[in-house]
Symmetry: C2
Subunit: 407 residues, 2 copies
């Protein structure tokens, strides 16, 4: 049997561990005699059209291991979503380079691209194995228990809120932190994992799975501030009103829209500033501060979950095992084998159409009935994913001294 | 000699290592038989007025070590700047509790408070040792080579820019990151330490030590984007025009001012959004994103320089040695004993009035003649402070594959 090449590409938003999957796939390919050279396409499917390939078979294991530990798509990424015509152009290039396997590391859009390519390949009678390797900080892929990239981003968000809670405790006021997530609130909900003591923030958490009402929000903030003398709030960038309109559009006269007509949510502090203004106006509180976590949460150098690293490596390896060892198309999916301290994960090959273009959001059992917090079930779900070295804050424990002047 | 109590408090903005200084002072006090109980005042000088004290002598070494590793003032903080009358109220409380030594961990405001207290003590014939323990992420204290808290915040900023540079390389566009620093640009300049390869960002760095011109800024961004096909920019929140007016005020109709009349710069995304709009309008570029690093850079749980930890511990210890062992007032200052790999620091006791109320900014030799970058001298200055485990990004090294279709 002639050796045919393997092509790997990365699509969509980068994550802290997306290169673990790349390196897992590259190194695993070296176990198969049937595999020819392993190519990487720069900037996802857009690089395929341009024949912008690198020969990953030349990479030393040492450099690959260093790249694996580096955040953000080493091959570059793209937001392109190929249609049928785009796919036909892709086939011309794959054919010219004799590529027999295409592994695409990405979210539900990338999965959908592979679904189309696999179908087109069958109609065109071009033998192509298409295997999707999951990745997204949004944690919104169906079938999967969770997705590589999410645990590390969640660790960043939990660490950030643990820190701003301490900051807010030292200099009290109201703090709003805006977290990525258009439709799924998993990453925002991770803010809760920064809590340790009963009065720790975030005291309020707002997710896109629930309609957002400004009146309820203001009265929630008032109540929390009355109770704690301060208030830390985690908000998803995707919060929307009952009609589905993003809250951020209430401020912006002109909003930026992407190629799919979605309002641009990241890369602007508008939502945090809008909410801070509303709090000042609605509560009369003066020290109100807002941060938008932005791109740091998916790219920060040096904040990674070791569980996430291992799993991201594994899904890359498993993809190659199915493509080269099993001659199968599909999407690698992660399934939990045990909870809490006995946490474990196993990997299956699922159908591309079961994940492609679909979005998972948080289950009702993960969201508190107040609609402004998460449940213990969510904390139990997320905790083992954060890895072995999540830092923990401590407090002074000694007693207060009796007053002498007592004024 | 009767044992008199030691009082410790923390003032101003929290840092990642401010509790190392607290714990250093508490544990070192235990070496002195002359020291009575060690009290901590909650929320700085404001807690003294309220007699809001904790007896730190009851704290176990184990818990103190855990607190030392926790970011943000464990005793809470304050923005109060006492005047003469306030100081007289403080004396009443110190006298009532028989406090003979007051160590205040803070920046130039806290140092000034101690200067006033020491003077008032002498006029009131109240025997009080006042020792200032330096702390500030702004790195703006005179006499000091650098200040505890700055290296850890600098590591956060460098790690963040190393990450967003990778993100921006994967999905190209223009990225603006706004960093804390009203008058001193040290922390913004730290962004440059995230660079490794020649084409790495930040490609442009704007500091409050130089006047900011929007026209020059736009043409700088155009030129950098033409050269690199993308552009990462680090901006200090304190940038101002030639007349000294903060750039952020150009947007905001109503700006928030603090008790000292300073425009509120942190806790809002306004400056990043203003600059992004200006770039879109001035260059026609479409993918322009802005983040404001906000409170994360001084509080993030789990990003700390080990050099900073050690030095913050040491300044707390040295303060007690001078107060209890030497019976002297002053401010502990850090001095560099060697550069590069032979980096070392020594600690002296300087006069309170040499640091109190003064602000150090970046030396001209640290700022490139372009006014939009730093010099190698600054990189050499900062690098040893970032500690032993600053992560490093890696790239794929293999060759590009020849095009077959060559379109």
């Amino acid at each position: 049997m002639a050796k045919r090449k393997v092509l790997i590409a990365q699509g969509g938003g980068p994550t802290a561990v997306i290169n673990e999957s790349l390196v897992g796939a590259v190194l695993k390919s070296r176990d198969y005699d049937s595999a020819g050279a392993v190519y990487g396409a720069f900037h996802g499917v857009s690089g395929i059209l341009k024949e912008d390939f690198i020969n990953l078979s030349q990479e030393s294991p040492e450099n690959l291991e260093n790249v694996a530990k580096t955040p953000c798509s080493a091959l570059g990424s793209t937001r392109d979503k190929p249609d049928e015509k785009y796919c036909q152009e892709i086939f011309k290039v794959l054919k010219a380079h004799d590529i027999g396997t295409f592994c695409y590391i990405g979210g539900n859009d990338s999965s959908d691209t592979l679904r189309i390519l696999a179908e087109e390949g069958r109609s065109a009678d071009y033998a192509l194995r298409c295997v999707h390797i999951p990745k997204t900080i949004d944690n919104d892929l169906t079938v999967n228990d969770h997705t590589p990239g999410f645990p590390s981003a969640a660790k960043f968000v939990a660490s950030a809120f643990a820190g701003v809670n301490l900051d807010n405790r030292a200099l009290s006021g109201v703090y709003v932190g805006v977290v990525m997530g258009r439709h799924a609130g998993f990453l925002t909900a991770a803010a809760a994992l920064g809590r340790k003591f009963d009065d720790d923030g975030p005291h309020l958490i707002y997710l896109p799975e629930r309609d957002f009402s400004m009146d309820t929000f203001i009265s929630d903030v008032k109540a929390a501030n009355d109770k704690y003398g301060r208030c830390v709030i985690a908000v998803s960038e995707g919060i929307h009103d009952a009609a589905g309109a993003p809250i951020v559009t209430k401020l912006a006269q002109e909003v930026e829209r992407d190629a799919h007509g979605n309002v641009q949510l990241s890369g602007t502090g508008a939502l945090a500033d809008l909410l801070c203004d509303a709090i000042r106006e609605g509560t009369g509180l003066k020290r109100v501060r807002g941060d938008t976590f932005g791109y740091l949460q998916r790219s920060f150098l040096g904040c990674v979950s070791d569980v996430d690293q291992r799993e991201a490596r594994a899904v890359g390896e498993v993809a190659i095992e199915h493509a080269l060892g099993g001659d199968r198309d599909g999407t690698v999916t992660i399934h939990r084998t045990g909870g809490g301290a006995s946490y474990g994960a196993e990997y299956k090959l699922s159908k591309l159409e079961d994940v492609a273009g679909k979005t998972k959001v948080m289950a009702d059992e993960f969201i508190a009935s107040s609609n402004s917090d998460i449940t213990d079930a969510f904390a139990d779900y997320l905790k083992p994913l954060l890895g072995s070295d999540m830092p923990e804050p401590y407090r002074l424990e000694a007693e207060r001294v009796g007053k002498i002047l007592g004024k």
